[in-house]
């Protein structure tokens, strides 16, 4: 779970990136209901980010009912997390893929080259700076 998190400098606030990526991870059943989430401090250290920034993300996740925060115990995946429709998620991925293809093609570059490089770049630990 911790390993699937990556912060990028796109102008999107860090807490939003954490929130959305965790939501996606939960939807992908990377963690199941009842299981413990990474500690706020773990995330903060792993991403080299402030503890309160992580808390901000976690609080938003709790508001939507995705997780449950228990003081001094940890945070856990909610028993009945808001269903992220499988189809909707697939549509989301496809939408992003088509968008990427269009954007890349508009720049006069072969989308497949970019796709292959994306896989390479995300394979190792190279931080996409």
């Amino acid at each position: 779970m911790l390993h699937s998190l990556r912060i990028e400098e796109t102008g999107v606030p860090i807490y939003v990136q954490i929130r959305d990526q965790m939501l996606h991870a939960l939807g992908a059943k990377l963690l199941r209901p009842g299981e413990q989430m990474p500690t706020m401090r773990e995330v903060a250290v792993a991403l080299k980010v402030d503890l309160n920034t992580v808390r901000h993300a976690y609080e938003e996740l709790e508001k939507t009912g995705a997780i449950v925060i228990r003081r001094a115990r940890g945070t856990f995946v909610a028993d009945a997390p808001p269903a992220v429709d499988r189809e909707e998620k697939a549509r989301r991925v496809e939408g992003l893929a088509r968008q990427a293809i269009a954007t890349v093609a508009a720049a006069g570059v072969n989308p497949r080259d970019v796709a292959r490089l994306m896989i390479q770049l995300t394979a190792k630990k190279g931080d996409g700076k």
Copy 2:
């Protein structure tokens, strides 16, 4: 073009939303190279947003070479980039790949899933290039 813009309260900065949505529109060929973009003021009024916020988005688009801003004349979709040598092309591919990873990841989706789908989507019929 103006009608395809929508600002949501997701914590994502407004200028980022405008920038990304316009990039998407350009990739979808909603506007073609050379054509005039909506005026900064038009966008600002349509979205009920500050003029400088729109400018922020436009400036980022110009940095990436997607559009060209001409003082007192308007902003226009950039012409298709000229063919370049192998190295330049490779550099461009890498830049686009990293950018795609960033935007996709920031949206909470696994970049590799998107990359794989990109390959699938471009595999079917001739990519025309």
